[in-house]
Amino acid sequence: MSLFETEAIVLKTIRLGEADKLVTILTAKKGKVKAVAKGARRPRSRFGAALEPFTHCNVILFDKKPTVLMRMNQADILHPFIRIREDLERIGAAARMVQLASAILPEGEANPKIFSLLQAGLGKVERNDHLEWLVRVFEIRCLKHAGYQARLDHCLICHNELDAKPVYFSPKNGGTLCGSCARTISDPLEFVSSGTISLLRLAARMNWAGLFRLKATPKMLQEVKNVMDAHLTYVIGRPL
């Protein structure tokens, strides 16, 4: 039995019972948790707008025992990311981010890097117009912080350095294969040009300002998307 306070980002809210909400939140202290907010659907509930998806808030949770859902006692908004809600594309980008964070994180394990990444990512979605690139960078970093960073420095089978020739991305191996090794295996592969490989590498480590200055062609963006879709689907076990 314990009462604790933590920063949190709302991932998902579903209706529960007459007037309650079951909220999935990413907390700074205990990672992803589910909590019941009693009466949260009533107009004069003390939770107000704090439990809407994407909201960054400060919550007080009551952890009864491991087998029972936590109860949320209080939620105060720190940043509502209110501008996201005014645009369908922004809502879509933010939804993709919280869905990925939710799918990749186990319950109850703190991951401060993904917490900061999501907070920063939602802030960018609110203000920045390069939504597609933004979502890709988020995906690449989220996988990295969850322990699934793509290995892109050499061929994962023969260990040779990759040259300028076309290479392949193997979701199953979690990284790149050279052309000759790619022919030897039957698993599905994504074709990637060397420029896209550099872009994927940069996205994993460069600061945001630098990333928005990069000039990626639509073709490279499409390749990044193909690679990330395949990689995420493999890691999560289903399409996101």
């Binding site: 998902k12 107009p43 908004i77 809600r85 369908l88 809502i91």
Partner: protein, 201 residues
């Protein structure tokens, strides 16, 4: 014999558990309550449930629940046919109707867009709204979807859909609930009600 008794009761409990917000304990409590009802009361309840399923359908114009092909609002010549108020579910329509303030027509979407659950435009009755607007009677569409992320996404989508028809689109105001102290309102509600302020004359 005892086995049979248990089976009948369990079946009722299992059926009750399918209702939203009803867990095992509540289902048991309700089952024992029903057990104590008179036979007439129980028959009345059962018949009401069957009637709803067998005799109610969705209005062919607005998707409101109705006993007829066309619901009483769509069929009523005294309603203002230049306005359509759009809601997610029939239950919201009843709440609006209780106010007695709105005299126009309705359109029930029977759902909302949900980017987080992958519910898209084909999961709501939006195209049939567009068809209604083509009849040319409508001057204003009032969007009264919930002020949740799903309701907002739906409102933005509908606005985009309707704009090309030239029909005026309005959204119900966001505001502080009547009778509360402003200091307790959360910042989103406050910001939204500031944005939606209007001049006093």
């Amino acid at each position: 014999m005892e086995g049979v008794t248990q089976d009948i009761l369990d079946r009722l409990i299992d059926e009750l558990k399918k209702l939203p917000g009803i867990g095992r304990k509540t289902a048991q409590r309700l089952a024992f309550f029903l057990l104590k009802m008179s036979v007439e009361e129980a028959r009345g309840l059962a018949q009401a449930i069957i009637d709803v399923k067998e005799r109610l359908r969705f209005c062919r114009w607005c998707n409101n629940v109705s006993e007829e092909e066309v619901c009483r609002f769509c069929a009523d010549p005294r309603r203002d046919r230049t306005r359509i108020l759009v809601v997610e579910e029939p239950i919201t329509l009843f709440a609006v109707e209780r106010t007695g303030e709105y005299k126009g027509l309705y359109h029930v979407l029977l759902g909302a867009l949900s980017p987080l659950d992958g519910r898209g435009p084909s999961d709501i009755k939006a195209q049939s709204l567009l068809e209604r607007l083509k009849q040319g009677e409508t001057k204003e569409v009032i969007i009264a979807t919930n002020p949740t992320i799903e309701g907002e996404a739906t409102a933005i989508y509908l606005t985009r859909l309707i704009k090309p028809t030239g029909v005026k689109v309005t959204r119900i105001a966001y505001g502080i609930p009547v009778g509360v102290d402003l200091e307790y309102a959360d910042e989103v509600t406050l910001i939204k009600s500031l944005e939606g302020r209007r001049e006093l004359t």
